[in-house]
Symmetry: none
Subunit: 151 residues, 2 copies
């Protein structure tokens, strides 16, 4: 499974359909579930996205840990209850459920934001704001920030 990288701004049509960026689709290529899993972010006003294979990994992890870790149990419970498996149509679109759109404040345009093993879907202006904010935080905390270079 390849990574979710870069950002793409796409439009929703009248039925709430939206194209998943082609590069995001290809990172799910070869898996048996041709689609993504979405859920409302617990921490931000945005939608979180995962591949089904990753979701399955989380399931087996929480299966084994759950007995001992009630916190993790709460977490995974919320996650699985909220998670929406959404299959691509022939042209690579999904329809994002109403409550998810509402949670992210998305109306007619959305940004898909790569996050490596996952991705997020944002209202475009909300994303810019959040981005500025975290950029500000970075500058504040690390005036001489350098990206680690390593092979």
């Amino acid at each position: 499974m390849s990574l979710f990288l870069s950002s793409y701004e796409n439009r929703l049509d009248t039925k709430g359909r939206i194209s998943v960026p082609a590069s995001f689709r290809s990172s799910v290529m070869g898996e048996n579930f041709q689609g993504v899993v979405l859920y409302r972010s617990f921490t931000n006003d945005c939608i979180e996205g995962l591949s089904m294979s990753r979701m399955e990994k989380l399931a087996s992890a929480s299966d084994q840990m759950g007995v001992f870790d009630t916190e993790l149990d709460d977490l995974s419970a919320m996650l699985f209850a909220d998670a929406r498996p959404l299959q691509f149509d022939v042209t690579g679109r999904i329809v994002i459920p109403e409550d998810l759109l509402k949670h992210a404040g998305i109306k007619d345009t959305a940004v898909f934001v790569g996050r490596g093993n996952s991705f997020q879907i944002w209202n475009p202006s909300a994303f810019k704001e959040a981005q500025n904010k975290s950029m500000g935080n970075l500058r504040k905390l690390r005036p001489n920030l350098k990206i680690v270079s390593g092979n």
Copy 2:
């Protein structure tokens, strides 16, 4: 076997019949028992649900451990005694036994809640309450909560 994901609110008809969500049905597709196994939750006022194949896995697991762990033995004994195998009808409905409904306080509407490898059936308002509670727990314990990212 695919995962039980998302939540679905369905209605019971006058005979106690209720549609098992199509996506839950499809996660049992291909198994020889076309239905689910239900039992009263030990920890919550709700009904627990499993596929038959998973029930069988639990059986063999407790077979191996049970000899040494009397607690686990008691637990699995209760589980097997209480478990009800319920076959789908042609349209994908089941009738949930009276005592299970009573235990979960379900009257005319129920929510099927995905939990990964299992699911639960709740009274809608009771579920909302429980969900708020565990969300509260999470925020309290982990203000900077992040979903596990790893392999």
